[in-house]
Subunit: 337 residues, 2 copies
């Protein structure tokens, strides 16, 4: 664990503590003025394929095009005065960068975002457009967190953790609360995993209210960090290989997200690059929704594993983000013969 | 006016008659078990450009990807026994074809759909997939309606009119009713126009409840049938030129839709092909929504005309359909340099 994680991960309560529900409630109250609930739409095409209702949760229509505005707003609003006085700093592969830039601008806060040189040019440009000061670092997670920590120490800025703080996990948990208001009864929820913040927060909210729900994670074959960690019963560090899913790059589960996932998540499935491509194409052509590869993994995992899952619960797939590069989407829609 | 229109357009009440509200109420009750309300999402990007809230009404996420399921279900459900006994017949450039095929299959009704040979292969294929028997006709509106009328006479099938019957207009009107439940206060509504069914039905519902709302139509420059008809104070027939907006091909307003539009619609704007392209691209990249050109005209018209409209009401744009050909979308996203 590196120092940036340490600085931010103290005092996170255990997954079974009731405090989480308070945290998620508070996060919901904080976000309400800024983020209306995202739509939950039925996919006729997926429902026909899987022979049961399949719903899509459109986090892709959030401002900045990803669920990351939930943890970004919650993290800044929880410490608004400090954020306004000192500014904030974070690091991200792209979507959290945009989300912090957007939330900070909206709330009158100055933001510095550390991104790897290899981060999608599309996402770097969007981060700048949303008002973030982008600082580039070397292409490693160590460099990303070290650069962030250096800026934090030198500037006194508030560190906003991309996936492993109480505020982040609780902010993510508001998605689970929203789902409970949108769908009756138990359901089977497929959630993309990178550091594990989204699935941890969502699982906390959903399982507390409806323990009969199933929570399934989805990762790229190229970066099976949570899958391997669960298999080994401890946090494992992977060496991710190249993947279209540029939002799912964290090589090791969070110190705080991991035990929550261990306790509450039923299974994690791995998705191939080819499946991401066909799923993105189907979501565009059948469901008229633009998603990035890191979001398509939830639907791809449902398509591949729901039939043998042993449950016939309705399915909800979280479309966690829509920031796909236009050239990539173009080639998926019309591959060169 | 041709015989197919005549056969279907008798007894339509005047636009100011109260019966329309009853018709739209009845349509809403009929559709409720089959079509949940479509989402209304805010577009941050368009709101920033136009300096006021801009909402998108996602008819593109309807089954078959277009609002046309509203009039299709209403038309068949209003005469369900006859439809089941005799089957139905209609004609369409594509989206109504798919909608009737889908509604008929859902309701256990046999459907025959007359489409021009030049209709998008993508939409023909989808119509077949939804269970419709596709009959191809020559590339003219006369041939489309004549072929339909011949089949109707020979087979006794129920004629389902694509845009100009009471059932169609009332079915379309359910969109207006839905909007009134989703947004408070007056708003400025931009609606694509082909035969005029959608804007007529929607205007009836919206203006009856909130006369302060503004209703604006949008057509392709390539087919300004309603615009010219309003200018001349009578239904004018155009000779449409080639356009990306293959859903907006009707060359003359409906006998019934025209007087409603004359009475209730504030203005109609024309949209160039270039504007359709840039709008489709922005909706994909900024709003993560896939739309066809015939839907993008509502947003394009808002972008071009809202700033000088003399009103600062919030804006609602109807994204009426999402059935864009994948190759066309691909080239819009990544044009060959």
């Amino acid at each position: 664990m590196n120092s940036a994680e340490q600085a931010d991960s103290t005092g996170v309560p255990a997954p079974d503590a009731l405090d989480w529900m308070d945290e998620i409630d508070r996060a919901g109250d904080r976000l309400a003025p800024y983020l209306p609930p995202t739509p939950l739409i039925v996919s006729r095409h997926l429902s026909a394929v899987l022979q049961r209702p399949v719903w899509l949760k459109l986090e892709s229509v959030q401002p900045v095009g990803a669920f990351k505005v939930r943890p970004a707003f919650n993290s800044i609003l929880a410490h608004l005065q400090l954020s306004r006085e000192a500014g904030v700093v974070t690091n991200s592969s792209g979507n959290f960068a945009q989300a912090v830039a957007y939330a900070a601008s909206t709330l009158g806060v100055d933001s510095t975002i550390v991104m790897m040189r290899s981060a999608s040019a599309f996402k770097r440009e969007r981060t700048r457009r949303f008002g973030g000061n982008v600082v580039l670092c070397e292409d490693s997670f160590a460099s990303r967190f070290e650069t962030t920590e250096r800026i934090r120490r030198d500037s006194g800025r508030l560190l906003v953790h991309p996936f492993d703080s109480t505020e982040t996990i609780a902010g993510d948990g508001t998605l689970g609360r929203e789902l409970l208001a949108q769908i009756d009864g138990d359901f089977c929820l497929f959630v993309p995993i990178s550091g594990g913040g989204l699935i941890a927060g969502t699982a906390l909210a959903v399982k507390a209210a409806r323990p009969g729900c199933r929570i399934l994670g989805a990762q790229a074959v190229a970066n099976p960090s949570m899958k391997r960690s669960l298999e080994h019963g401890q946090r494992m560090r992977t060496v991710p290989t190249k993947s279209m899913a540029d939002a799912l790059t964290v090589p090791e589960p969070g110190m705080n997200t991991f035990p929550i996932v261990q306790t509450l998540v039923d299974d994690v499935h791995l998705v191939s690059e080819a499946r991401m491509v066909s799923t993105i194409r189907d979501l565009v052509l059948q469901d008229k929704q633009v998603v990035e590869a890191g979001a398509a993994v939830s639907v791809a995992a449902a398509l591949e594993h729901a039939p043998t899952d042993g449950s016939d619960l309705p399915i909800v797939c979280v479309l966690s983000g829509g920031n796909i590069d236009p050239a990539a989407l173009s080639s998926i829609l019309c591959p060169i013969q």
